[in-house]
Symmetry: C2
Subunit: 383 residues, 2 copies
């Protein structure tokens, strides 16, 4: 297999885009990525998206977006893995270049959640859980995460404030990211008094619904020339799965898919957690950050929250996460999020992260989860 | 890139499966394919599906089906390209094996259209068209095809009866296929007096809505041993696109995506249309068969219908299509259909098609279309 590099990135701001359609958001991100990569053509396009059908009445996004960006005719497909579709699309794009099939591949993630013609967004997001055994009983997606957080606090004797650092770090970092949805830092007092969504998860433990698109241009590393100084190599690209339903897991407090895809990625890249300078975790809820840190090997079991309390998750810490705001504050346009994470990892490795720059960042890892980590796509980028 | 072979196939009957859920249908097809291939493990699973979210409230089918078939943990993703998602999933599975990444890959297509918790099926199927510029005006998917058929008849001076052979051939062949939805042949009289759906398309020009799942097991050709005598090689796997909206096409009566993906496939396999012994076309409507035969190079422009009238599309003809019933009579569980076509091509090349066997079939082509051929996935199989 050939080595693959990211040679261009593009992002739109995540927010409630009442004046832009899904195709317009995707087009903007893709054209920016192509401009950044100095390419005017591509062989294939893969789109990460979860809910275009349910919420905007539009399927076949691959062909639609290929046409909109002026590339009518090229291979184009949509990849879906619930909230992890962005990471899934990147993985397929990686395979398409690594295989030798294509020399220029565009990966985009695009999602429009705030303008729905058909159903409501909360009900649609619950389609990431098991329809026959979980959502049929009326439980929402945040409520499933609340069950985990409650049990986690009981097992490890924690209180909600022990999770505060994850939200504070995300909002502090988003303040410096022009593509982020929430650009104001928050205080511990605000966190403590935040409105409850599904006890014990408050609104400041939850990533927001938003619209947005991000894009990447991939090429074979060997084909890069002197003009590609800002290219970043993809050292690993892996996907692993778990049961959708929480009750079917041997140990609901352990994210097996995260562990499995992380371990495969470490092996592929030849690194260990200690080598990772930036970890863009899937912080859809504070509890997901904590459990991801453990399953990915950055903290002992039951000790993930302590990394936050001890200040180790900030850009200056030992395991910087959510360095551009994360899902929590950059925003979480579900199927697009995995592509935003990759664009942010590239930004860090290019040394272009401004006030959020992680010093001497050389190896970055992103993790895109679908459902309650029923699907985990892990990517490791090396400068 | 490595050569890839299909080493196992599995199918459920297409019908209204009121007693089986989407996951049960997929599980049945996958387990049958694994049994046929004599494998008890796989590295990855790709699922073709269009409407699981809209109609059954379930996304993240990749992880769900991997778990259901006893392969929890493996890489799994859903691929969507409207009605062409089955062909798209097969293409991704092909890339995953060809790249050298995986040695055993399962491709499944699964769709449940007749039992909807959320929306109605006709409205959901219209999501294959352009939501902002076509369906917003209220046009259904069959009506879009009716516009094409009306214009085609005007341009080439044809009447509806000129299309009859496509429906008669499909139903005659389905009679011998245990997996088909409609197993009774039809007569010309029945065709002439069939109820209109969207003038000039009648119910006997339209493929039926149905539930079903099919599956394939793919392995590197070089890894096959003496036990794999029934393996069939994938000589080409291509995808091409067109605009979703008909009004945006330079020539709405020419299926560019079909032409493009066919030409790429012929080049990859080193064959011409003359070498194709079996062509499983995407006969969602009679007009689609006719236009596909032209764009794929089997008939001159405006002459596709004549292949039917002259008896050349039957298993004994020059260009056998819909040899196991096609979308028209086997049934069209949209995202699953492309995988059924591949399973049928393999059946023909194995010489196991019974009364529908195409004599000396050695090269088979399948074509899976999304929207009005906004997406075309073409595969060529060689025995």
């Amino acid at each position: 297999m050939r080595d693959v590099s990211v040679v261009g990135i593009g992002q739109t701001q995540v927010k409630e885009h009442w004046d832009k359609s899904l195709r317009q958001l995707a087009t903007s991100a893709v054209l920016n990525a192509m401009k950044d990569a100095h390419v005017d053509h591509a062989d294939a396009l893969y789109v990460g998206n979860m809910l275009s059908g349910e919420l905007t009445g539009q399927e076949n996004l691959g062909a639609l977006i290929a046409d909109e960006v002026g590339l009518r005719g090229i291979e184009a497909l949509k990849v879906e893995a619930a909230c992890g579709g962005g990471g899934g699309a990147l993985h397929i794009g990686y395979l398409a270049v690594a295989s030798g099939q294509f020399d220029v591949v565009i990966v985009t993630g695009a999602e429009k959640l705030t303008e729905s013609s058909n159903c409501n967004t909360t009900a649609s997001l619950a389609m990431a859980a098991d329809a026959d055994y979980e959502t049929v009983h009326g439980i929402s997606f945040v409520a499933l995460n609340a069950l985990l957080m409650r049990r986690y606090m009981y097992e490890y004797d924690l209180v909600p404030e022990d999770f505060a650092a994850f939200s504070l770090n995300a909002h502090a970092n988003a303040a410096n990211n022009p593509y982020a949805m929430f650009r104001a830092p928050i205080t511990l007092e605000q966190y403590k008094h935040a409105r409850s969504v599904a006890d014990p998860i408050s609104v400041l433990d939850s990533s927001p619904v938003g619209d947005g698109a991000a894009a990447l241009v991939l090429m074979p590393t060997a084909s890069l020339n002197g003009n590609r100084a800002r290219a970043v190599k993809i050292a690993a690209s892996t996907v692993a799965t778990d049961s959708l339903a929480l009750h079917a897991r041997r140990d609901p407090l352990w994210l097996s898919a995260v562990e499995l895809s992380s371990q495969k990625a470490y092996a592929q890249a030849g690194v260990t957690p200690k080598d990772i300078d930036v970890f863009e975790a899937h912080d859809a809820f504070s509890i997901m950050s904590v459990m991801s840190l453990e399953a990915a090997g950055f903290a002992e079991r039951g000790r993930g929250a302590y990394l936050g309390r001890e200040g180790e998750i900030t850009p200056q810490g030992k395991v910087p996460i959510s360095t551009m705001g994360g899902l929590k504050a950059r925003g979480h346009p579900v199927g697009a999020t995995g592509v935003y994470q990759a664009a942010e990892a590239v930004t860090q490795l290019r040394g272009e992260a401004g006030k959020n720059q992680v010093p001497n960042a050389r190896v970055a890892m992103t993790q895109s989860l679908g459902g309650v980590a029923a699907n985990a796509a892990t990517h490791i980028f090396v400068n």
